[in-house]
Symmetry: C4
C-alpha cells in the first residue's frame, strides 16, 4: 500500500467496478440460463463471485489494500489509523462510483438498459438480521487474519467467506454498502430496490461494529493497534 | 494457542456457533430455493459448508486450535496432554452451547421459530456406520497432518474432507457431537430428531477411536506423543 | 523458461491442445448429460475448465511460461522483450495448431466427426463487448500479478478468473484467439461459427490492449519493464 | 517415504480403499438424490472426488507417496528406481485389495449387498480412447511436477486434474487399474461391468506410457532420472 493516492483510488474504483460486474453479470447469466431453479441460479452466481472476488483481492491488494467496501475502509481507519480522513473519503467515493459503473457495465454486456432501477424489495426484518450477521462475519474474517499475521490468506479466506454467506444468511450477504448501492442500478437477479438500500446499509454498519467488538473480545488488549 | 482460557472458550463458542449457522442456514436456503432436487440441495449445502468451515478454522485456529468438535478436543487431549481436564470441560461446554445458539441464529435469520425440534429420523443402522466412517476419517485427516508437521494445511484439508464426506457417507457426515446436538434444534433440511442424537454421538466416538488407532498403525511408535 | 525453443513450442502446443480438449470435451459431456438446463451445462463446463486450466499452467509454466494464448504472448513480448520475434511466431503457430488438434481430439473421444464446423453464431455487439471485458480482465490479472512479484499464484488466479468470466461476461469469455479458432472446429456446446471468429479475435486484441493500459495506470512508470 | 514397508502398504491399502469409497459412495448418493439429471449426478460425484482425493494425497503422501494407482507405482519404479521389485508387488496388491474393500464399504454404508457386480458396460472404442487420454494426462501432471520440483502442489493439482478429466474425457476418467477393478464390485452409478475391466486396464497402461514419453519430450535428457 505504498502506491500514490490516485493509483490507490483507481484500484478501489476498478476493483469495486469489477466486483459488481461479477455479481450482477453472473446473476443475469444464471437467471437467463437456469430459469427453473432459483437455487441453481444462486449457486451459479455465488460460485462466480467466489472466483472473481478472490482474484480481485490478490491482484489489487498490493496497490490499495483491496477494500472495495466502505465498511472495511472505515474499520481499517478506526483500527489502524494508517489512512487519513481524506484518504477515507476518496476510498469511499471511488468504491461507490465503481459500484455504479460496474452495474452499468454488466447491464451493457447483457444488452439491458444501461440503468434499470431494481424492483426487488429486500426490506423484511429477518433479511436485515442477515446483513448484520453477514457483515459482522466479514469483519471478523478480515481483522482476525490481520491480527494473527495471516493477511496473505485473505484473498482465499474472504472469497470463501462470501461463498458461504451467500447461502447461510437470509439476505444472500451483500455485506458492503457500495456494492448495495451499485446493485440498485440493475433490475435483474442481484438487484435491490432503492428503497431497501438504506436499511441494508445501516444493518451493515451495525454488523461491522459487532464484528470489531468480537475481534476485541477474542484478542483482548486495545482494539486499536498497529497491524503487522 | 497461547490465548487465555476465556478467549479460547469464546473462540470455540463462536466458531461452533457459526459452523452450525452455516450448516443449518445454508440447508434452509437450499431447501427453499431448490425444492425439486434433494441432491442439488445437498450440493448447495455442502459447498457452503466447505467454504465456511475452512474460513472458521483459519481465523480461529490461532486462538483456540479451532476444534469446534468434542471428538477433536478429546482426541487432542488423549494424544497430546496439552489441554488440562478443566480445559477439556470448558471446550466441550462452549462447543455445545455454541452449536445450539448457532441453530437458533439460523432459525431467526430465516424467519423460523427460534427453536423447532427436528422430526428427521436418522436411526437406521447403515447411517450409524456412515457416522463411524465419517468420524474415523476426520480423525485420520487431523492427526495425520499433525504427525507429519502439516497442520498449516488443515483449514483446507478438513474443509475438503467434510465436503467429500457429505457425499460419500450415507449419513452426510455430521462427525461432530456438538454439531449433532445443535442440529436437533431446527426442523429443517439439516436437522436430526432428538431421538436419533444419542446413536449418532456413540457412532462418532467409536469412529474417533478407530481413527486414532489407524493413525497409530500408520506411524507406529507410541500413540501419545508431543505434537510438533 | 530456460528450456530450448522446440521444447517450449511443444509445451505451448500440448497445453493449448489440452485446454481446448477440456473446454470442448466437458461441453459435450455437459450437453449430453444435462439436456434440460443450459445453465447447469455451463456450470459443469466452467467447473471443469477451472480445474483443467489451473493444472495446465502449473505443470507447463516452468517450461514455456504457459501462455496458451496469443494475446498473452503478444503482451508478454510487448512488455518484457524476453521473447524474440521468431519466438513469438513459433508460440502463436504452436498455440493455434494445438487448439485445432484439441478440438479434433475432443470430437474423437466423444464419437463425433473429427471436424464439425460449429454453427453457433456469436456475432451480436454485446457479445463482442463481453470479449473486450473478458480479455482486458485476463491481461489485468496476469500482468498485475507479474508486476507485484506474485506470479507464483497465477495458476490459481488465472483459472479462477476464467471461472468467474464464464459467467459475468455475456460471451462466456473465450478471451483467447487460438482457443477461439479451435472452438470453430466442433459443432457442440462450446463451438463458435467460423464467421464469428474474426469479430471475437479483434475484440480480444482490443481488450488485451485496454488491460495493459490499465496496468500502466495502476502502477505508473514505464509500461515496458523487466519482470522480476 | 522413509516409513517401513508394512506401514507404507497400509497407507496404500487405506488410501485406495477410501478413494474408492469416495467415488462409489458419492455416486450412490448422487444417483439416489438427483434422479432426474445424470449430469448433476456426475457433478456431485466429481466434486466429492476432487475434495476426497486431494485430502487423501496430502495426508498419506508423507508415508507411502500416496500412489493409490498401479500406473503411478509402475511409472515411479520405471523412472526413479527407488522402489524395489518387491515393493512394487506389495504396493499393487495393497492397492487392488484396498479398492475392492472400498467398494464393499460403500455398498455397506448405503445398505446395498456387500458385493454387486456392475452391469454397466463400458467397452466402446471411444471410451477406451478416453482412458488413454485420461491416464496420459495424469502421468503428465504427476511427473512434470516431480521434474520441476513442484511435488508439494501435487495434492491440489492431481485432484483438480481428476475433477476436469471426469468431464473432458468420454470415459469419465477412471485412469487407475486398481480403482477400475474395485468399481466392478458395485452395481451403482460408478460401476463398470467386469467384462469391460480388461480393456480399461490396457488403455490405462498405454496412456501411462504415452504420458511418460511426453514428459521425456518436454524435458529432454534421459527419461530415467533421480527425482529431486
Amino acid at each position: 500500500m505504498s502506491a500514490a493516492l490516485p493509483r490507490r483510488a483507481l484500484a478501489e474504483f476498478l476493483g469495486t467496478l469489477l466486483l459488481v460486474t461479477v455479481v450482477v453479470g453472473s446473476g443475469i447469466m444464471a437467471q437467463e440460463l437456469s430459469p427453473n431453479d432459483v437455487g441453481l441460479q444462486l449457486l451459479e452466481n455465488s460460485t462466480a463471485t467466489v472466483f472473481g472476488l478472490g482474484v480481485l483481492i490478490v491482484m489489487l491488494g498490493p496497490i490499495s489494500g483491496a477494500h472495495f467496501n466502505p465498511v472495511v475502509t472505515l474499520a481499517d481507519w478506526f483500527l489502524h489509523r494508517k489512512l487519513t480522513g481524506s484518504d477515507v473519503g476518496i476510498y469511499l467515493v471511488s468504491q461507490i462510483a465503481g459500484a455504479i459503473a460496474g452495474a452499468i457495465l454488466a447491464n451493457a454486456m447483457f444488452d439491458k438498459p444501461a440503468v434499470g432501477w431494481s424492483t426487488h424489495d429486500r426490506s423484511a426484518g429477518h433479511l436485515l438480521l442477515g446483513e448484520v450477521v453477514a457483515t459482522a462475519g466479514l469483519a471478523l474474517v478480515i481483522f482476525l487474519l490481520t491480527r494473527a499475521g495471516n493477511a496473505r490468506v485473505a484473498p482465499v479466506a474472504v472469497a470463501s467467506y462470501i461463498g458461504a454467506a451467500y447461502w447461510f444468511t437470509s439476505s444472500t450477504s451483500f455485506a458492503n454498502p457500495a456494492v448495495t448501492i451499485g446493485r440498485a442500478f440493475s433490475d435483474t437477479f442481484a438487484g435491490i430496490a432503492p428503497s431497501s438500500v438504506p436499511g441494508f446499509v445501516v444493518a451493515q454498519l451495525v454488523g461491522g461494529a459487532i464484528g470489531l467488538a468480537l475481534v476485541a473480545g477474542l484478542y483482548g488488549g486495545p482494539l486499536r493497534h498497529e497491524a503487522a
